[in-house]
């Protein structure tokens, strides 16, 4: 079974789950098949999608980043405090936040690569550090009052039928497009796959392993910071407790999207499908007025199904 074929199977199965969910939901609820629902799906969870794309790159390279939720939380309160309490221009606040996020990611990547520490532990330290710093900035919610925010919230692209794509959705879609091109058409993207497939082989082939790994974590940090900014755009406020345990959802989305946690196989298209499945499940529980805890359980069950599927189809049992 070659890799191209197995990748197709996993993307196709993710896509068919999404399709099935949409068909069933559309038949069960009136008005589910509407552009409003689709627009909502994107705008409500855009921050999650952005961080899941960053997470995809990290997982493809054979690592993991547990710090994304905390970095998002930190960014929201950091940006909100700068804008509201210190009257900094939003643009400057965003730039600073993005630089901090990227630098933070690069630092973790550096520790992971240079000292050969497990990514799991270094990013765990990152998780605690960023969350603590978020509370250090300000321990309570901060409302953002800024003309730029008001102006930006009115920016939207109409898609017909009265629905429109909000700015948060547009950010998500651009990140997706950039990631898709980077992964598939650049040398950097190919290096990520190579390192995830086998780091020692990549090293022997003379690929820049260290640079690529540090860059991957830096990109994930950048994506998390961007996700945090997107969250402030959506909520018009910042809170140090925002996005707690979001890394779990992001990892779940990546795995449902068919990217193997062992690295080297997968892509952002699958992640996007996983993101849509995630959003659809929450929309369904909303439409059926079920409690959101059922959605969490459903996502766990789906995660299990996909892992088993990967085990059975994609990665044939390794010889013991």
């Amino acid at each position: 079974m070659n890799q191209r074929w197995s990748k197709l199977v996993s993307t196709a199965s993710t896509a068919s789950v999404l399709l099935l969910l949409w068909i069933v939901a559309g038949l069960a609820f009136d008005n589910f098949w509407s552009p409003f629902v689709v627009a909502d799906l994107f705008s409500e969870n855009a921050f999650l999608g952005i961080s899941a794309i960053g997470m995809t790159l990290v997982i493809l390279s054979g690592g993991i980043d547990l710090s994304v939720g905390s970095v998002i939380g930190f960014t929201t309160i950091f940006v909100a405090t700068l804008i509201t309490d210190h009257s900094v221009s939003p643009w400057l606040a965003w730039l600073t936040a993005l630089l901090i996020g990227t630098g933070f990611g690069a630092m973790m990547g550096f520790l992971i690569h240079v000292f050969e520490l497990p990514a799991f532990l270094v990013t765990l330290a990152g998780l605690f550090f960023a969350r603590g710093m978020a509370f250090f900035v300000k321990p309570e919610s901060v409302q953002i009052r800024s003309e730029t925010y008001e102006w930006l919230s009115s920016c939207a692209v109409p898609t017909g039928g009265g629905a429109e794509l909000e700015l948060t959705t547009l950010i998500l879609l651009s990140v997706f497009a950039i990631a898709l091109v980077t992964l598939n058409l650049t040398r950097f993207g190919r290096n990520i796959f190579a390192i995830g497939g086998s780091q020692s082989s990549a090293q022997l082939m003379g690929l820049p392993v260290g640079r690529t790994k540090v860059l991957v974590y830096a990109i994930s940090g950048f994506c998390s910071a961007l996700a945090g900014i997107t969250m402030t755009l959506y909520m018009d406020s910042g809170n140090p407790i925002n996005a707690t345990a979001l890394e779990l959802d992001a990892i779940a989305i990546v795995v449902i999207g068919g990217t193997l946690l062992s690295g080297g196989v997968g892509g952002v298209t699958g992640t996007m499908l996983g993101f849509l499945i995630y959003g659809t499940i929450y929309q369904i529980t909303y439409f059926a007025s079920l409690s959101s805890s059922l959605a969490t359980i459903a996502i766990g069950a789906l995660l299990l199904t996909f892992i088993m599927l990967q085990r059975l189809i994609v990665a044939p049992a390794e010889a013991e």
Binding site: L111, V114, F115, E116, L117, P118, F120, L121, V122, L124, A125, G126, L127, F128, F129, R131, G132, M133, F135, F136, P139, P240, T244, A245, L248, D249, I251, A252, V255, L261, S262, S291, S292, S293, L294, A295, T296, I297, I299, G300, A301, L303, L304, I307, M308, R311, A317, E318, E320
Partner: protein
Amino acid sequence: MTAPEIESNGLSRSQLTRSTAIWPLFALGALLLLNAFALPSFFELEFLDGNLYGSLVDVLNRSSIGVVLAVGMTLVIATGGVDLSVGSVLAITGTVAATLMAKTELGVTTAVLISIAVAMLAGALNGLLVTSLKIEPVIATLVLMVSGRGIAKYIAGEQVISVPRDEAFAAFDWIGNGHLFGLPVPTLLALSLALVTFFVVRKTSIGLLIESVGGNAAASRATGINDRMVKLFVYVFAAFCAGVAGLIDTAYINASDPVNAGVFTELDAIFAVLVGGTALTGGRFSLTGSIVGAILLQTLLTTMYAYGVASDVAPVPKAGVILIVCLLQSTKVRTWFRKRARGQQGNPATAFSSPADSSSEEAS
């Protein structure tokens, strides 16, 4: 391999530095020493109604959940696995116990037994995913970590469940807030669980089997060890520990909060195990080290609170400690240190100590 390092005073230097529990004990000692000068009140103990109170007792009391989880996690990590679901299992157990007591006619004993059984069932699920489906432990337990909290929330109906405050449930309150022989019950529970586990793994063959499977599962199988049963056992045991921790957690506040109970405790437990000197790669393990690690973590937190650090900001120094521990255990850093030490001694005899040295560390 270690022969050249033996010194004349009987106790070899390597024995001392490689006994895994020594580093966390050293750190704990240093922290306590610091407190002895900066915060004398930290060591004040007083007797009230025959019970001991004070910061030190409080540390032991608050670290009981961490100790219980670390004991279970140690065995899982020793088999080369990891259990990310213990925090969620903790929440499920607490919620089941609280719901049974609040909404049914069942007594404390039945409720406790049922909730522990539920926890072990969750552990069996983890174990089966790892052994039968051969899914990587991180991924297999991630499933329950993600959905477990949803299950707990669903059972509780998305709200905090309080245990009724009457005589019938006084026994449950005692688990969290009672005293026995002057010490808090959670502490005694945690210590007895740790002691029983210690004797079982060290006096029967199970400890040896776990280390063998963690060292090399395929080779263990070849020698006739049922590695699947061993792995299944450790996951069920870890979930059992998570169940006990869940009961203690619920009994502390006489209520179960499915959203906040046990959040990040799995990470604390993994951290305690690593500080204690058990490697994530499996094999040799040190229960004593893990227990000291868990107590060290709580001492660090309590100390920070005593210095007036806000509880929300406390994760920052914790992250620093995690990083330092990681760096100290990194083979690269160790080799570097060893090289420097050798350079100063100018002793060629130790130059050929193999990389196997670091993997064959003495377990306590």
